[in-house]
């Protein structure tokens, strides 16, 4: 177990380092970052000043090394647009996005667990087809289009929820539904397939033969076993939801990390963009690490592979 843990942790650190290189190098995609920050028609003197202030005149490897060392010491740099330290700026928004991701995950599970179970029990019936339709619509509809439909219905027609902004729980309802519905089909597919497999297992037949009531068999015996892979998927999906929240937060002007990322990109606030790319990647790396370690702990066969 220890050897596996060390190996897996080493891989995570290596991946995080590679991502940090890519996140830093994003800056150079524009060609000359000093020129990009100064904007078109800037005087040469200003460009030179920017180059010197931000240290773009140093060799690339020195710039990256300096940036990384500061990161490791907890200095995330200064935002060019908001003129404040990046660290407090990002951590003040992180809770909103994490909250949204957790709500969305809850919505996804609330939709997908009952529908997945129903679809499996009534395999190939009209109920199964109906569940399929729900999954298909969720997978095919662009999530920003779905968000606009929700705004049209809940905010404009029925005046139940605020169109945009953040602060109260009402602001989270539509973003969470949009993101959750987007993530639900993957869970539904997994739960349906898992339930079908489990329901044909011998121990389910035994439980039924013993005369246990159907709901006990389905919820206590079958679902418990079918839900195991869902936990691993949940960790991965949570990472995707954090990334996917950029579109949703922008539509609803929900003041989280995604909206900040969008703002930093449009305002060419590179230090903030770099840190958000790195932070979201690191969260994903940690989530997959946790899920892998949990799996290895539960299933000894994985540790040797």
């Amino acid at each position: 177990m220890l050897a596996y843990l060390v190996k897996r942790l080493g891989l995570a650190v290596l991946v995080a380092l590679t991502v940090s290189v890519i996140a830093y190098m994003l800056l150079y995609l524009s060609g000359d970052p000093a020129l990009a920050i100064a904007g078109e028609g800037a005087r040469q003197a200003d460009i030179d000043l920017i180059r010197k202030t931000y240290g773009f005149d140093r060799p690339l490897i020195v710039q990256y090394g300096d940036w990384l060392l500061k990161l490791l010491r907890g200095d995330l740099g200064v935002s060019m647009y908001f003129k404040t330290d990046v660290a407090p700026l990002i951590f003040s928004k992180l809770s909103t996005t994490l909250l949204l991701a957790v709500y969305a995950l809850t919505v996804a599970l609330v939709i997908s667990v009952p529908l997945g179970v129903l679809a499996a029990i009534y395999k190939n019936s009209w109920i199964d087809r109906l569940c399929l339709a729900v999954a298909v619509v969720g997978q095919s509809m662009p999530n920003f289009f779905f968000a606009l439909i929700l705004i049209m219905l809940f905010s404009i027609s029925w005046r139940l929820l605020p169109v945009s902004g953040s602060g109260t729980w009402q602001h989270f309802v539509m973003p969470a539904i949009t993101l959750g519905y987007y993530a639900a089909p993957a869970f539904m597919r997994l739960i349906r397939a898992g339930m079908i497999e489990v329901l044909s297992a011998d121990y389910i037949r035994t439980a039924r033969a013993k005369g246990l009531p159907t709901h006990t068999v389905i919820f206590k015996h079958a679902l418990r076993n079918a839900i195991v892979p869902v936990v691993a998927l949940a960790a991965v999906q949570l990472g995707f939801l954090l990334g996917g929240s950029i579109v949703i937060e922008t539509i609803f002007a929900l003041d989280g990390l995604g909206y900040l990322a969008y703002q930093s990109i449009t305002f060419k606030d590179y230090p903030v963009t770099q840190i958000i790319v790195l932070l979201l990647s690191v969260i994903y790396i940690l989530l997959t690490l946790a899920s892998d370690v949990a799996n290895a702990w539960l299933d000894p066969r994985i540790r040797v592979a």
């Binding site: 891989l11 290596l14 991946v15 995080a16 590679t18 991502v19 890519i22 994003l26 800056l27 995609l29 524009s30 990009a36 395999k123 190939n124 199964d128 399929l132 999954a135 298909v136 619509v137 997978q139 095919s140 509809m141 662009p142 999530n143 920003f144 289009f145 606009l148 439909i149 705004i151 049209m152 404009i156 089909p185 993957a186 597919r189 997994l190 349906r192 397939a193 990472g239 995707f240 954090l242 990334g243 996917g244 950029i246 579109v247 922008t250 990322a261 969008y262 990109i265 449009t266 060419k268 963009t273 958000i276 790319v277 979201l280 990647s281 994903y284 790396i285 997959t288």
Partner: protein, 287 residues
């Protein structure tokens, strides 16, 4: 790995209706795109400011002159919809080809050689998966400068992960086959084995993944354009049309509903065709 392959994952759909319906819908959209100049009642870029936000024909104020109405600049919406299909299909196909070439090469090499090459490719895949696609794409497009070709290149360079994962495991299976050993002992070069023995046998998987990736690329392009950092005006990208109509959604929701539905139908058609193809091309995995 069925989870990687199925779009909707209902493998016991009977008679492969999915393939017929999906391909039928796709064919209609293809025809819309190819014959856009002949089908369109108007020039999609022509602005007629006296005819702004005319509603579609099923509304009271609608007119057959503009069957789907006009947008906020008085451009015929049906014509823009037809020309927009060109953009979506072009992006889906180009991204699938670029990312397919990258991912397929990586996956086949990893699956065939194993060992160190496999480790390196797996590392690339893990790294790529850990970065949020939409955020990196947005940042890159904003830095390089947004245009349709930049969007295609960026998405193509980002979306090879699923190709690599599936091609790797498919190649591993094929590699263990006797005909590969036979080709090796006959003295065939590695490149020849990869192209004439392995590739034809992993092709079904490749095609299925390509359809799924095309659908996902179209959705990503729409999202980028919706955020104003993808395809630029006046091109009639469906995502951009939704974005431009946002300020008019209160009175003219159809400006959003029409391109939004078009996108949903296209994605639905591609995913359905992909599922159908999967059942048709790899029957042994139907389960």
């Amino acid at each position: 790995m069925p989870g990687w392959i199925h779009a909707f994952g209902w493998p016991d759909m009977k008679n492969n209706k999915a393939l017929y319906v999906g391909c039928g819908l796709l064919l209609i959209i293809f025809c819309m795109a190819i014959f856009a100049p002949w089908l369109s009642p108007h020039d999609p870029y022509f602005q007629d400011l006296t005819y702004r936000t005319v509603p579609p024909v099923w509304y009271e104020q609608g007119t057959w002159l503009h069957p789907l109405g006009t947008d906020q600049l008085g451009r015929d919406y049906l014509s823009r919809l037809f020309y927009g299909a060109r953009i979506s299909l072009l992006i889906g196909a180009s991204v699938a080809v670029i990312s397919g070439l990258i991912g397929c090469t990586m996956g086949m090499l990893a699956g065939y050689f194993g060992g160190r090459i496999d480790m390196i490719v797996s590392f690339f895949v893990t790294t790529r998966l850990s970065m949020p696609v939409i955020l990196v794409a947005l940042a890159t497009v904003a830095l390089v400068g947004s245009s349709m070709w930049v969007v295609i290149m960026v998405l193509g360079l980002l979306k090879w992960d699923r190709f690599a994962v599936v091609m790797r495991s498919a190649t591993q299976q094929v590699r263990a086959m006797e005909y590969v050993a036979a080709a090796q002992s006959a003295g065939a070069s590695t490149l020849r084995i990869l192209l004439t023995e392995v590739l034809p046998n992993v092709l079904p998987h490749l095609i299925v993944i390509a359809t799924l990736e095309a659908a996902s690329a179209i959705l990503l392009e729409a999202a980028l354009s919706f955020l104003g950092l993808g395809v630029q005006p006046p091109l009639p990208s469906w995502g951009l049309m939704i974005s431009e109509a946002k300020s008019y959604m209160f009175f003219s929701f159809w400006l959003i509903a029409i391109p939004g539905t078009a996108l949903a139908v296209l994605i639905f058609a591609i995913n359905l065709a992909g599922d159908g193809l999967h059942q048709w091309l790899t029957p042994q995995e139907r389960g």
